[in-house]
């Protein structure tokens, strides 16, 4: 095999990694290198060092160790049956790239995943070696995210958690049936078992033993997963139901949704059309409502009969339009729970309302100054000197928010 230049490998192996939506680098332990013996820091929230023209944050060096793979997942550009160019980094190359990019302030750290070569264990142990070298030889204190190989031995995952801030395993598709159809070599039960193991180990790492000693930290930024949206026929209700189970059962920090993206050299088993990216966006909005706004899946997906979210308007607004009888709410009296359900009010706005109304009654202008988005909210609230009148019940309320029909492009 001919040797590829480093830049060619980097091109191939970052191209192959871009279908992973996550680039988060937040929520790990606080560390720095003020002692002068290492490199790097993590301080709570991560930093997006750049943005690509696809609007995505670039926070980590997100690469595959190799894009050779013996599996045949239909949605994946690296599957064994694709004719894409192949490359493989050495352990040393990944370590050097990470350190040199980090020193120039390009990145917060490394997100490493890999195609499966030889065997899951062999692949996973190479990945662990990279993380270990970064931590032990280079004194690297930045962020490391490793994507675990589903069938790798539990000991390897256990070791990975000692060096990585975050571990992830992608469930890939919202249903077991979908996994069977599109990722025939993968086993949903194995994936769930691996997630369960990580959860248990994290819990153990958080407890002191009877001697009062804390065990070594284990993946302090927790675990996450990704689901591909639009490749199989799952509805949004199915997808969000699965997310709710994943958050509950495995204590996941995040579920990522990735609108299935047409890939070079796509398999005949999959659609070649662009799915609407807005669907992914609506799923993220719904996901937030589930986690931080006290909604449940049934409420969010009730607005339409087909189990999908309304693509034209955000899910909270869709819910409010369905439940107009509950509005308008009085910002000076309503409960926190109800304020959180007002379209245009975020958790921060609600916090400010609650804080300020202890001192005095709020007017419309006060809300503006607090940063509330009143364009949406004004139809659903009353404040001192403000009532929406008939606005709340007007039949064209939805039309005010839905975008005008899109112009067809010549394509």
């Amino acid at each position: 095999m001919t040797q590829l230049a480093l830049s060619e490998k980097l091109a191939i192996l970052s191209d192959a990694a871009r279908y992973d939506a996550s680039c988060a680098s937040s929520g790990t332990t606080r560390r720095d290198s003020r002692d002068g013996k290492g490199l790097g820091s993590t301080e709570g929230s991560g930093i997006c060092h750049s943005y690509a023209p696809d609007g995505r944050c670039i926070s980590l060096l997100k690469i595959l160790m190799t894009n050779f793979c013996i599996y045949d997942c239909a949605y994946c550009v690296n599957r064994v049956s694709s004719n894409v160019r192949r490359a493989r980094f050495t352990v040393d190359e990944v370590v050097q790239l990470t350190i040199e990019f980090y020193r120039r302030n390009y990145i917060e750290g490394l997100f490493l995943s890999s195609g499966i070569i030889r065997s899951p264990d062999a692949t996973m142990s190479d990945m662990v070696r990279i993380a270990k070298r970064l931590r032990q030889d280079e004194g690297f204190r930045g962020y490391i995210h490793l994507k675990s190989i589903p069938d790798a031995a539990p000991e390897l995952i256990a070791e990975a958690g000692l060096y990585a801030d975050r571990l992830s395993i992608n469930v890939e598709l919202p249903t077991d049936r979908g996994v069977k159809a599109y990722a025939p070599e993968k086993n949903p039960t194995t994936i769930r078992k691996a997630m369960g193991d990580v959860k248990t180990r994290s819990a153990v790492a958080g407890e002191r033993s009877y001697t009062g000693k804390r065990p070594k930290r284990f993946a302090p930024a927790g675990q996450s997963t990704q689901m591909i949206v639009g490749a199989d026929g799952s509805t949004d209700a199915t997808i969000l139901g699965q997310s709710t189970r994943l958050y509950g059962d495995y204590g996941l920090r995040r579920v990522y949704y990735s609108a299935f993206s047409p890939i070079p050299d796509s398999s005949a088993a999959l659609p070649l059309i662009k799915p609407p990216l807005i669907r992914e966006h609506r799923l993220y909005q719904a996901d937030w409502l589930l986690r931080f706004y006290g909604f449940d899946v049934g409420e969010i997906t009730a607005a339409r009969t087909d189990g999908n979210l309304d693509l034209d308007i955000e899910p909270k607004l869709a819910w409010a339009l369905q439940n107009r009888a509950l509005f308008p709410v009085d910002v000076n009296r309503a409960s926190k729970e109800m304020l959180l359900r007002v379209p245009g009010f975020g958790t921060r706005t609600v916090g400010r309302i609650l804080q300020t109304r202890r001192h005095r009654a709020l007017r419309y202008d006060d809300l503006l100054r607090m940063g509330a988005s009143l364009k949406k909210a004004k139809a659903f609230i009353t404040a001192r000197g403000w009532t929406p009148g008939k606005l709340t019940d007007s039949t064209d309320l939805r039309a005010r928010f839905a975008p005008p029909p899109e112009q067809l492009s010549l394509f």
Binding site: A11, C48, Y51, N83
Partner: protein, 278 residues
């Protein structure tokens, strides 16, 4: 009338000290002229030296924290606005909880702008390797922040890049970190930094992590405004990436599925055998 000179380096402490003395002595906001960075203050201020420090002055912690950020804003009115609020706080201690008070809202907005600017500085400073040899590696960057954010943000870089020497030069202040010591110096014109081969690799990464099937230019520019592009090595690729995106996606679609390489069947058979054996 007091004219208070404020230095460009150490503005926060200088303002705080002066504000404490002035409120302590009951000097009204209208009687103070804040003179930032001109050095002219020295000429006029001689007539009225600042009142002596007073121990009685108290301000809520939330005010002090906010003031420590707002002093770095570029608005010349920032010092007067802060003092105006400090003056009101003597008799209206509850103002800090009133998120809708117009004066406080304005200051909070300025605080937010400075924090955002600090955040962007942490994100967008790009070091170049000076390749000077020696025990510690050394790097340098040129950066143009919107507000006066170098001084409050430099400690972040000191915590992160402690095992190397570095310099961040900007038009009004230059931060230097040598052998573990952080210091500030007057600003300078853009220095000539040596080329750094890592920038080409970073550009390669930037181009390939971009997914041409999902162009969202507005989402990019709202977080990475154009004013920063000239100091970001990767930004030179943006134009071509956008221009070529549609053609790339179309090519993918037209190419359609290909025939799997021959080795596939063999690999699959082996794998199946192994999975069955387990």
């Amino acid at each position: 009338m007091y004219t208070v000179p404020l230095p460009i380096i150490g503005t926060d402490m200088a303002w705080r000290d002066a504000a404490k003395r002035l409120t302590g002595a009951g000097v009204r906001p209208a009687d103070i002229l804040w003179d930032y960075g001109t050095g002219m203050g020295e000429l006029f201020a001689t007539a009225t030296p600042l009142p002596p420090p007073s121990r009685k002055v108290k301000a809520p912690k939330s005010f002090v924290q906010m003031a420590d950020v707002v002093v770095w804003h570029k608005d010349p009115q920032r010092f007067a606005r802060l003092y105006g609020l400090l003056w009101r706080l003597r008799h209206q201690p509850g103002v800090m909880q009133d998120r809708a008070d117009p004066e406080l809202a304005k200051l909070r907005q300025m605080e937010k702008a400075v924090r955002r600017c600090q955040h962007k500085m942490k994100a967008f400073v790009r070091f170049r390797d000076l390749r000077q040899g020696g025990d510690r590696r050394s790097f340098a960057a040129w950066f143009e922040p919107t507000h006066h954010t170098v001084e409050p943000t430099a400690p972040f870089f000191a915590r992160r890049f402690a095992d190397m020497d570095w310099m961040i030069a900007t038009p009004d202040v230059t931060a230097q970190f040598v052998d573990g010591n952080l210091s500030f110096h007057p600003g300078q014109p853009k220095p000539d930094l040596p080329e750094d081969a890592a920038e080409a690799l970073w550009g390669t990464y930037f181009c390939n992590i971009f997914n041409p099937a999902r162009v969202k230019i507005q989402a990019m520019t709202s977080e990475m405004p154009k004013k920063y592009w000239k100091n970001l090595p990767e930004a030179q690729h943006i134009h071509d990436l956008i221009a070529g995106a549609e053609a790339k996606v179309r090519k993918m679609q037209e190419a359609g599925p290909t025939i799997p390489p021959e080795r596939v069947q063999k690999i699959k058979d082996q794998l199946r055998k192994r999975q069955n054996d387990q």
